[in-house]
Symmetry: D2
Subunit: 430 residues, 4 copies
């Protein structure tokens, strides 16, 4: 039996308050969609079957190089993080898995698994960390990890990744996500070719350690923490990695890791076409890798990405099997609230994309009717799919109004008492 | 009596087909908004009172430096352009004015005015052109116009602007829009300071020629046609111009004329605060000054801009009186269709912004509740305001479905017969 | 015997005036380099052996979508273009080949070859054009060419490319360069996957028509003339193309075709490593694809690119055999002058890169001495290699001061008389 | 008597080794410049008179939000920071002042002054810090400081700035630099107009506390730590601030705080023209506010900025009196080395700009000879001015080879023993 953090009574009570309005709005929307030839219940069922993972680190307050302003009741370890993740899933019913970060989330795997079972949470892709130095680590990653000039450092990073796989095996994970901060801050500091050779060699050893039913996801990032070059700078390099490694290697798309103006939905289409899309790290950004809440800055872009995903699903693109995770930094909000809101935005984009009339769109495309092709997408995007998402949530036992219910529950105040602050609210680096 | 291009019968017939569905959707939305404390009819009335100007050049097919692919039935002169503008206004009922371009639209002012009256069209801001050389022009603008190193060229450009004011006076226009292509392609080519001094001096002479009830709008542009520097490169320089010229000078915001990532809505807020916002040239872009259809790439940004405008109106910001115009380049669509679709997108953003609960938003802002402040905006944006805009259009005699009605009318085929192509479909420059 | 456009006497006279100073500067630099362990004459010989192609269209004046301001004495056809190219090569002795553009440069191949022989010019890669419509072309490329939804248009574009190969065979060219303007202006207009499938299918047919000793170069471009998506948008897609086509297919790097901030030298390194670098289209840019003169905006970036090329040459990278061409748009200068200046800037970057002490650099890289690795590059870059380039030019019969000699020759005034202007100075599109 | 950290004997010995080569190179360059009509000694004197301040925080190792990798021998407080600054100035003789940061550098002002006198260091602009929370601070800056919605937080930030002025008065500083991290991460979080009103009101109080002979410098930044909007986002807003505050208020230009592609040298020209340029925070960047070493990524841009400064000086622009400081984050190098290298790059750009033949440049500009105007700048930039800078350094008692001499001195090893590490090498935030 799962034991969830928010009281069932409170949830029921809050849902009761919103049920009539939801029923009304859902009926009106259903009628409208029916006129457009769309069965609202079929859409709702699809939305209900969609889920996105929460990264364990997401429930802590983030920061910048200038400062970190701690929030109240921050989780002090992986077990408390799981509690917070359980709140998110209980209320949104769309985030049933958690993605762990080695070494931060190290704990007795059996205890972790038991805690997950108790909260109704599973474990998603495992994340290694070679972009910072762990306590008592023998060699530093200051100048790189899997691509370091020194073979001993590369070996240490390889072993860390293999250890991460081992932990994941116990927890039932089926994928390893590798992101490295390797790169350079000065022209000349790094030999691009040698560094990439080192990286590929090291990753081949990690790849060889993957169980048969695992996949490895590599992640590109244009810059930061390295500021002149990064070893895996874009999807082109990421594709080369996946190709060199083999059929279990795939390319992750983090929405914030691209150059300005880049057409991300097109990258998604290319990776699907060449059967190398691993999945997503969802977030949003305005300037760089801002790690803002998914859908908060450019919701139409999120929709266009889902338009590619739904299209691939619709035409049964070979090898299409993306993994979804939120990856944000919450500096000014309660992370639980931000993650719930983001999960909803992701479902919104998915629901909107499901409304696109694909045969009609294809016909406009084939006849070069650019305006009507665009209108076809816009009609789906401008539809208020809120009732569909709420209905899907409700049907699965979640909240009609997750944020309102969460606030009403007093969860944050409760954990703030239970989790005394570690002290210093500011740990910026200047 | 106006004499409109689309048959009233056809319009009525097409509207009839959509009326029941619209009534239904409007009623449902009204009920939902009522629950949110919003009177839908008040919103509809505000939307109905909003209008945006069409630039005369917008109804022609655009092109790039690589090629121009002519469309069928392109207008061959200002009178045919006015016919096309009349279609847009007849069906959308939100574009009652046209903005002319001197010297391209030169014609007998009385005949122009009569034509406008016949079509129910007025004349908006007048645009001068010193970024290309007109036939038989004495001196070339190859190296600049109002900022040219040679005083004779500057004088010619000044006189052209004054002539543009003179034409506008007859037509009932009340504003002059000045955009120059002046700048440089090489570091060193231009002395930034001297060029700007020349520009300011020249503009002071133009300013002195403005009638008392006129305003002058200057427009900044980061780059293109000049590719290393432009004389009026950003809103900072544009503000300095307006400040130097005087109380009748204001700064135009063209959505495509900014550096990547720039927060345009914040620029709008600053210009409102310092009482120097002239208004807008609406379009959208993904990369540079792409001149794509308004709202087609980043509709949330358009909404955020309107959020500032509605906020300024709401708090009765001193001197707030923006002029609205669409300014796009239609390369792959029928310009009439694109302009109708864009006018609708602009109204959509306006309607969405009207739904924002401003006292609630202010309270969230004052209590640093970032998440709920954002949700307040998002709730307005995700509302499907289509029924409001359609109802406003219908109430004023327009079409429920402007594009469908236009296509049904056969207008394009008709004018294609009447307006034989001038020949060469391709006039790219390589 | 070649018959060159600039008088040998004038050239000799101009060189005489500069010889003493050059000898002095060369000797001083030689002494300094000797102290740094570098043999100046070895560098000079390498510089003397470097060449870069001129595109036939480069000697005409460029323009923008706003206007084109014609220059005096513009060449009216391919034979006059070759005359202008001969001036550039005569004075710089580094541009012995011309790259033609089909269909603009269509002419009797035998006559072209004879003219080239007479001027001492060879023919480089052939360029097809499917981004604009040629006169009397059956089907339009308005909505694409090799990726068009209609198979008939794709077939026409294939045939045009095959025709281009045929012309090149006669002229002694060994490569076809394919750049398409295909893409979309609206989300939804194009199905990314289908369009790319069409493109790949079409290119496979073109590829099959390549003679055994030919290569095909494909060129990516982030945007323009398409403004929402382009079919070959970045090096990732370009790499996929080269991989799909086969061993004769390679990826061109045009310096202006990337997203803002992108690290181009790293892309160059990747393409070298995976043996798919075709070569370069040199130019410079500040904002978008500005097509400014090579080295005029960011000369350090040009140096960093050559640093990769010299490094690849130094370590004898397998399959390393890049083709070099200048590809610029000259809107405000005499194209002959700009092309001469650009050829010199390219040689400058090459000469600077040759000065990098590679074993020392590698040692700093291996020991993570980021500062000294950077200083090693900077020392090469800050060296004034002007005397080396001038000496290399002089040794091959060129001018110490190409631009001064060109101006002294009166060539432009002479051809201005011979080539009456076609009339309209302005052909902008608005 | 000053007591400098590097032994005079070692310095003399190292200089001796390089003197002959320097004399040779200086003489050759002198001869070349003489041919170009330039007196090398006059240039050297100007270079020798130029100085740039070091920020106290610059001598510590920087980090990113992901990690900080401590370097050996990091200074543990302001007195050790001053020691490190003294090394930089002793060897480069171009950084005689230090800019302090309140509250980090709080100490007995008399002791600070004595320490500065002992090391031959003065105190430059004072920096306040309201972008992170100091220990035991009453109210948090999590949601802003001078623009905070709560008047009590604003008051606290005002008082902190006034305190910073008070400290500076004792130390002989004459300027206060104000940079705030205020802004928002979500659309809607902040009301742009109210926030800016708050900021202006607060700054007016700070301004009123300035001594008569002080100036206040405000600094704009496009983004980070706030990621959707910042209160002082660009030079346009910064100019408005300086204008609103009064004649003692000026605008700082940090090279990394602009949108991609922005023409920074033009902003410098505008601020000079309108008499509001405060000065610079020098650094370089490739992607965002990367805070890389000055001149390491785009040295030509640095030159173009100095071209504006030298031009303003040359024409005696009214009110022209810029303050210069380096502001970088050193993550992978020894900060002392990076700061010495950066000071040299800044002097290099200044020396190159001094070589521009300004009357000749003006003539090319006036005759629209874009190519020769550009060549005039490029000729100055491609000159190897290394000997001039080294000679200027040597003449003032510094090192011909500052980095080589520093390494030979064993300073870092010495202080590493004296300054035991505080422990944790990694303090990243995820």
């Amino acid at each position: 039996m799962t034991d969830l953090p928010i009281s069932a009574e409170l949830l029921a009570e809050n849902n009761k308050a919103g049920e009539a309005a939801l029923a009304n709005d859902y009926a009106s929307l259903g009628e409208q969609l029916d006129r457009r030839g769309i069965d609202i219940d079929a859409i709702t069922r699809k939305v209900a079957s969609f889920s996105v993972a929460i990264p364990s680190w997401g429930v802590g307050t983030g920061g910048t190089r200038f400062a970190r302003f701690a929030g109240p009741g921050e989780p002090r370890g992986i077990f408390e993080k799981l509690d917070d993740c359980a709140v998110i899933n209980q209320l949104t019913r769309s985030t049933p898995t958690v993605s762990l970060h080695n070494p931060w989330d190290k704990a007795d795997p059996a205890a972790l698994k038991a805690k997950g079972d108790q909260l109704g949470l599973g474990f998603d892709a495992m994340n290694s960390n070679t972009f910072s130095d762990a306590k008592d680590q023998a060699l530093s990653y200051k100048f790189g990890s899997l691509s370091h000039a020194d073979v001993a450092v590369r070996q240490q990073a390889i072993e860390h990744n293999i250890e991460t796989i081992e932990i994941g095996k116990v927890l039932g994970s089926k994928a390893l996500t590798v992101w490295v901060g390797d790169g350079s801050n000065f022209p000349g500091q790094s030999n691009f070719t040698r560094a990439f050779e080192h990286y590929l060699d090291a990753m081949k050893t990690v790849y060889a350690a993957l169980p048969d039913d695992w996949r490895v996801f590599t992640e590109h990032k244009l810059y930061e923490p390295a500021f002149y070059s990064t070893v895996v700078q874009d999807w082109g390099t990421n594709y080369l990695i996946a190709k060199e490694l083999g059929p279990k290697a795939f390319c992750l798309v983090d929405l914030g890791h691209h150059a300005p103006n880049v057409n991300i939905e097109m990258i998604v289409a290319r990776l699907i076409q060449f059967e190398k899309l691993a999945g997503f790290h969802f977030n949003d950004s305005k300037y760089g890798d801002d790690d803002l809440d998914a859908g908060s800055i450019n919701p139409f872009q999120l929709f266009l990405i889902f338009n590619e995903l739904v299209d691939a699903d619709h035409r049964k693109a070979p090898g299409f099997n993306p993994a979804y995770m939120i990856d944000q930094s919450h500096n000014v909000t309660d992370p639980i609230e931000s993650l719930m809101a983001s999960a909803i935005e992701i479902l919104r984009a998915y629901a909107q994309a499901l409304l696109v009339d694909r045969p009609v769109l294809a016909a406009f495309q084939d006849s070069n009717d650019a305006l009507m092709a665009n209108q076809t997408l816009k009609r789906a995007f401008t539809t208020d799919v809120g009732p569909i998402i709420a209905k899907a949530r409700l049907a699965k036992g979640g909240a009609i109004d997750p944020i309102g219910t969460y606030r009403a529950s007093g969860y944050r105040a409760r954990v703030t008492e239970q989790r005394p602050s570690s002290g210093g609210s500011s740990s910026g680096i200047v």
